[in-house]
């Protein structure tokens, strides 16, 4: 009988109806979540005590009245079904699921000007060189002129393969007294509809920490100060949030693949670099202005196991790929230039370039 009652009570408890004694007052950072797709659709809600709230979305602030009644949260005329409500998180549903995490606002940040006075490196990157990966990328960023500038350095062990600067729409803003870093997805409009929002939780001249939605969870990321780097308006940029594959946006090379083969083979002149055989895949983005950036490099043997090719071979192929600039830029259905992702796989036999695939 005892066990039966416990089983009954446990079943009731497992339904988890909303706990109406929990408080909404305070600051909440939101993130849309779909069952399979991840939308970093950033929203901040600030609930006041007096049934008023302020919403920050796409760089605009609006005030609404709100009411929590049973398992329904009413904000202005919008009804959200409360799926789950705990002290630090509320999960709502209205067409899709939105998760809000409560932000601890007790930690006070200091002068936001520090953000522009230094460049910043993600804290984990210090140990990058001790990691197993031979090919890796280091990034540092800085804030200037309402942009986020990223200096990206490509490495193969201790050999620097190349470097690029990328610029993105990005602004340091305040929502009420709360500091935000707002990135934007679309380069021409700097629309922040699908861009990740970062709430600055800590800041001094040595480091800053943000809270942001990443992989459907709120995560804290810390950056450490480093020296500033030079920037230029000729930097690489990605024109939109999502970059499609070359075949979907119709990217091609002027002179076709023959021009690529002639250029690369003529440059290498059948030179031998080591004795390994396998594949070196170099993937990159061609933006709506025909610039190349965001490179990825992989090296495998003929059975696709990771191996180490001669460093100079990797560097030569990387630089040759980077210097392929005669692209016919991708277009969308409206005929507008858009970004696209392309790759070449260099087939190596006994240290010599055999073919450029596919």
């Amino acid at each position: 009988m005892y066990i039966t009652i416990c089983a009954f009570l446990w079943s009731i408890w497992s339904c988890k109806p909303p706990d109406t004694t929990l408080k909404l007052e305070g600051l909440w950072l939101g993130n849309y979540q779909h069952e399979l797709y991840e939308f970093p659709l950033p929203i901040i809600w600030f609930f006041s005590n007096d049934s008023l709230m302020t919403e920050w979305k796409r760089r605009e602030q609006k005030d609404f009245e709100w009411l929590l009644s049973g398992d329904v949260l009413l904000i202005d005329t919008m009804e959200y079904v409360v799926q789950n409500f705990t002290k630090n998180q509320i999960v709502l549903e209205r067409e899709t699921v939105i998760v809000f995490d409560k932000i601890d606002t007790t930690r006070k940040e200091k002068n936001l000007d520090f953000l522009e006075q230094y460049a910043w490196r993600k804290k984990e990157q210090k140990s990058r060189k001790s990691q197993k990966k031979d090919l890796y990328t280091e990034e540092i960023h800085r804030f200037k002129d309402d942009k986020i500038w990223i200096q990206r350095t490509y490495w193969y062990d201790q050999l620097q393969l190349g470097q690029e600067i990328e610029m993105r729409c990005g602004k340091i803003e305040r929502f009420k007294e709360y500091p935000l870093i707002v990135e934007a997805g679309y380069w021409d409009t700097c629309d922040s509809l699908y861009a990740p929002l970062q709430y600055v939780t800590d800041l001094d001249k040595h480091s800053y920490t943000v809270l942001t939605a990443k992989g459907k969870k709120m995560r804290e990321i810390t950056y450490e100060a480093t020296d500033l780097f030079e920037v230029s308006d000729s930097a690489f940029y990605v024109c939109s949030q999502s970059v499609g594959a070359y075949y979907g946006v119709n990217i091609s090379y002027k002179g076709e693949k023959k021009a690529v083969k002639d250029f690369v083979f003529n440059a290498l002149k059948n030179q031998q670099f080591g004795t390994e055989s396998g594949y070196i895949m170099i993937r990159f983005v061609i933006n709506c202005a025909g610039q190349l950036g965001n490179f990825e490099i992989e090296q495998t043997d003929l059975n696709f196991n990771t191996i180490k090719f001669d460093k100079q071979l990797i560097k030569r192929l990387f630089l040759l790929t980077k210097s392929l600039t005669d692209w016919k830029i991708g277009k969308n259905e409206e005929g507008e230039h858009i970004d696209g992702r392309k790759f070449f796989t260099y087939k190596i036999e006994n240290g010599r370039l055999k073919a450029i695939l596919p």
Partner: protein
């Protein structure tokens, strides 16, 4: 009440309450992404869930998130761990240069006995990796599975074998394969490009007249093939018939401009003709 009766009563109460409050059992999440799998009750539900995961995976892979895309497609294959399901993971990875993922999926598909994957793998080895020896091996295994002619990616395996042999320098083997294909294929299904590839093989062997004969056979069946016009021009040039050669080159370029050239945006094909090649040859013509 005996212990057994108490246990039965306990489970009965739990079952009734669980159904009443719709506390459906959640499956284990096999991947780090949100793929909680509810209990699948019907085959139709299973197929729908499979398609949803596969398509989502493809979408992510298309947009460059290969880790997430492949994780979702892996989840799909957990629902349907059959050869065909694994094969469906391959194309998006091939198109994007993730050859390790693609061939691993194809290997698994073949291992599970999905014959189509064997032909597809052979075709992929040939066109994506230029692994002609590997392709021939797979073609032969695939061909042996059926009595009649076999096809991979809608192309005759015999013809593909011939092309692969030619690329490996086995010109005699290539000719033999092309001859077999021409002899055994139904006329209405014959791929006219076999004459192009056989002609190129003869050309490499130095048999200019045989090469020319094949290009003429091609053009008799399909006059809009710029490849055959160009190759014919090369033979004519070797035979010092410059004027005729130039006419062939001009016709080839005209047809290229009209879009008649065979080719894919995804990969280079064997004996691919490039516009620049034709334009280069036309410089010899007044």
């Amino acid at each position: 009440m005996g212990i057994l009766k108490k246990i039965i009563l306990l489970f009965s109460v739990y079952a009734i309450l669980a159904i009443a409050f719709q506390s459906a059992k959640r499956g284990v999440s096999f991947v780090q992404y949100n793929t909680d799998l509810p209990v699948i009750y019907t085959d139709e539900d299973l197929s729908k869930e499979f398609d949803k995961l596969l398509n989502a995976g493809r979408q992510f892979a298309y947009l460059g998130d290969f880790e997430k895309g492949n994780a979702l497609m892996d989840s799909a294959t957990l629902l349907k761990p059959y050869g065909r399901a694994f094969q469906q993971k391959a194309p998006i990875n091939l198109l994007q240069g993730n050859y390790k993922k693609a061939f691993k999926a194809l290997d698994k598909s073949v291992e599970l006995g999905y014959d189509y994957a064997l032909g597809y793998r052979a075709w992929a080895k040939m066109h994506y990796l230029q692994d002609y020896a590997g392709a021939i091996k797979d073609f032969e295994t695939y061909d042996a599975l059926s009595d009649g002619p076999s096809y991979a990616f809608a192309m005759s395996v015999m013809m593909l074998k011939g092309i692969a042999k030619k690329e490996l320098g086995d010109l005699g083997g290539a000719i033999e394969a092309f001859n077999t294909y021409i002899k055994e294929e139904l006329f209405e299904k014959l791929d006219v490009y076999v004459y192009l590839h056989r002609g190129l093989t003869y050309y490499e062997m130095g048999a200019l007249d045989k090469a020319l004969e094949d290009y003429e056979s091609f053009l008799a069946l399909y006059p809009n093939g710029p490849e055959a016009h160009y190759q014919k021009g090369l033979v004519l040039l070797d035979k010092n018939e410059k004027e005729a050669a130039c006419n062939s080159f001009k016709e080839s370029l005209r047809l290229i401009r009209k879009g008649y050239r065979r080719g894919y945006i995804w990969n280079e094909i064997p004996d691919q003709l490039y516009r620049a090649e034709v334009e280069e040859k036309l410089k010899l013509c007044s």
